[in-house]
């Protein structure tokens, strides 16, 4: 996680930079980092340590409440251990969240750089295209695409990325457009550097702050979206567990077994809160001017 907190372009002694120091003073952000680290470790190590396999069905132990025997978080309607499923699900959900963030950030940066640098008709067309994507409620778009296409974890990741690249695209486009005519870009051109070198090595690093902040918040949004789509049954398909599809069916057993809903829901909230805290800390540390949050 500490690598995400490295905003400086200088490879040497980045840990002395002002941004890192400011981030380390941000208590909420540190709490977020700690919680995410713990959660990630638990998801990686947990399944090896826990006494039950996530797929082991024990029909005699159906609907055991938490702390029954070795079922620390209880069992589901098939008698499977919820703790084992929760941690395995975390691997999928966190991975989907991260991958969607990486993919959408790359897409956004690419669109933003092209639109900002080319400008003119191409730039305007790309930015109107970005605006058009923002007009669709992302939940509709994600659900429609997930229902139409095959909902593997990879596909869900791509679909979420497809609906979340716009913010980064706008940030990058604005930054590139404002830097396009600056002296260091002209100097680069005179030195005979290629356009892509100037764009990605010289101009883009200037927009790193807002991009990193947007990326950390995108992880949070991607986890929420995956949870919702899977909750409805259009996301990650069982027997592969995800935090969202563990909640699928929880509504049905709400009176009988409330822990089915509470355990994954609290975990999702903890994970998403952590990423939002981290995003907030990064915004302060990187001195990103925010209009709303």
């Amino acid at each position: 996680m500490t690598t995400a907190a490295v905003p400086s372009a200088k490879p040497y002694r980045w840990w002395h930079s002002r941004a890192v120091r400011r981030f380390c003073r941000h208590k909420l952000a540190l709490t977020g980092v700690a919680m995410i680290t713990l959660l990630t470790l638990a998801c990686i190590v947990g399944p090896y340590v826990l006494p039950y396999d996530m797929l082991y069905i024990d029909l005699r132990a159906r609907f055991s409440p938490p702390m029954t025997g070795d079922h620390y978080l209880g069992t589901d309607p098939l008698g499977r251990d919820i703790a084992a499923r929760l941690l395995n699900a975390g691997r999928i959900s966190l991975l989907v969240g991260f991958s969607a963030m990486v993919l959408s950030t790359l897409m956004g940066a690419l669109v933003g750089v092209i639109a900002g640098y080319r400008g003119g008709l191409v730039g305007a067309a790309l930015m109107r295209f970005t605006d058009a994507f923002l007009a669709f409620p992302s939940i509709f778009l994600v659900l429609a695409l997930a229902a139409l296409l095959k909902p593997t974890p990879e596909m869900i990741t791509i679909i979420i990325a497809l609906t979340h690249w716009m913010e980064v695209a706008r940030i990058v486009e604005a930054e590139v457009r404002s830097l396009r005519e600056r002296e260091f870009v002209q100097a680069g051109r005179m030195l005979g550097l290629s356009t892509s070198h100037i764009m990605f090595r010289e101009v883009l690093p200037n927009a790193m702050g807002p991009i990193i902040v947007a990326a950390s918040l995108t992880v949070a949004r991607a986890i929420l979206l995956e949870a919702y789509v899977s909750f409805l049954g259009y996301g990650i398909q069982p027997p592969l567990p995800s935090w969202g599809n563990m909640l699928n069916g929880a509504q049905q057993y709400l009176a009988q077994a409330p822990w089915l809903a509470i355990v994954p829901g609290v975990t999702i909230t903890i994970a998403v809160t952590s990423f939002n805290f981290i995003g907030d800390g990064l915004r302060d540390a990187l001195d990103v001017r925010s209009d709303h949050m």
Binding site: L28, R128, F136, I139, F140, L148, A220, L247, G265, H292
Partner: protein, 316 residues
């Protein structure tokens, strides 16, 4: 009409065209494309499908098909639902007002609470209240809305038995009070996220205004702090909120759709989900396009309202 609004109108039209292109692309992503409804019928042979494709004009080049499809959208011919054959626009119209009722009540509630929290947070900056509100808003934004709905149902319907767990009214009882009773829980659940968003926006909008010269002037004139706040600060802080409300529209609409699915609220979100279950593509496509158009019109409306309220824009 000032040039600003004309250019906004023109931008919205361009957006609508692009939105329709995206919609058309999604339509053609459907396995089997617009033919999907016939492909499901086991009695269909490939020759039948080819013939229908010719009859529906699917053998024409894509740009021609797009123009035809977009033209039909303009004239209100959005196709018919696979489920009951009713025109798509009519189906959407039946569910529209339920969503609007939910969105409207929740937005009113969250603006009232959010504005108050935001102003208080800004005037008592870095106080315990401000800090709690900031952290609280971040946590509220992190709680999955659908899960918060489940928790609400568990506590208030199953455990306490105070509020109904779903639907819009009790069958056989159409009184306003009954509707209101069913509205409370989904409306409050939807408001959680919206209060968080509004209070953050309002806090920073108030902070932008509170240190400006005209506020100092108002204080120097000897106005009471309350009058300065209500008349000079809040009035000006609310202006950018109108634009933000427009920008926030996809989020609010999306939240309403999520809430509807948990509470079996018979609005557009519920309709969308039911249509997905039946592979009712014309309705799915219709809702996709309809919500995007709604958002674009909402943004346009917000800009018009701001221009009407803010004299600086009218002059400039």
């Amino acid at each position: 009409m000032p040039a600003f609004l004309l250019s906004r109108l023109w931008q919205s039209l361009v957006l609508l065209v692009i939105v329709s292109i995206i919609g058309f692309t999604v339509l053609n992503l459907i396995p089997g494309g617009p033919l999907a409804q016939f492909a499901l019928d086991p009695g269909m042979t490939q020759e039948d499908l080819d013939r229908i494709a010719r009859q529906m004009g699917l053998d024409r080049p894509l740009p021609v098909q797009y123009l035809d499809w977009a033209g039909k959208l303009l004239t209100g011919d959005w196709g018919n639902s696979f489920r009951d054959g009713a025109p798509v626009l009519q189906v959407i119209g039946r569910h529209l007002w339920a969503t609007f009722l939910l969105m409207g009540s929740s937005t009113a509630l969250s603006i009232a609470i959010g504005t108050w929290i935001g102003i208080r947070g800004a005037t008592h900056r870095y106080s315990v209240f401000d800090y709690t509100a900031t952290v609280g808003a971040m946590i509220a934004l992190s709680i999955p809305t659908f899960w918060f709905g489940l928790v609400g149902i568990y506590i208030f319907s199953l455990e306490l038995g105070w509020l109904p767990a779903g639907n819009m009214y009790t069958i056989g009882d159409g009184s306003a009070l009954n509707y209101l009773h069913h509205l409370i829980l989904p409306s409050v659940v939807l408001s959680l996220v919206n209060v968080a968003i509004w209070s953050r926006y309002m806090r920073s909008a108030t902070l932008d205004v509170i240190n400006q010269d005209f506020v100092k002037t108002a204080r120097a004139k000897g106005l009471t702090e309350r009058r300065v706040l209500m008349k000079h600060v809040v009035g000006n802080a609310l202006l950018p909120m109108i634009t933000l409300a427009g920008m926030q529209l996809p989020g609010i609409l999306g939240g309403a759709l999520v809430t509807e699915t948990v509470f079996t609220w018979p609005g557009m979100g519920r309709l969308f989900l039911d249509s997905l279950g039946y592979s009712d593509y014309p309705v799915i496509m219709g809702l996709l396009m309809f919500s995007a158009i709604l958002v674009i019109l909402g943004n346009l409306l917000a800009d018009i309202v701001v221009a009407l309220v803010d004299p600086r824009i009218r002059l400039g």
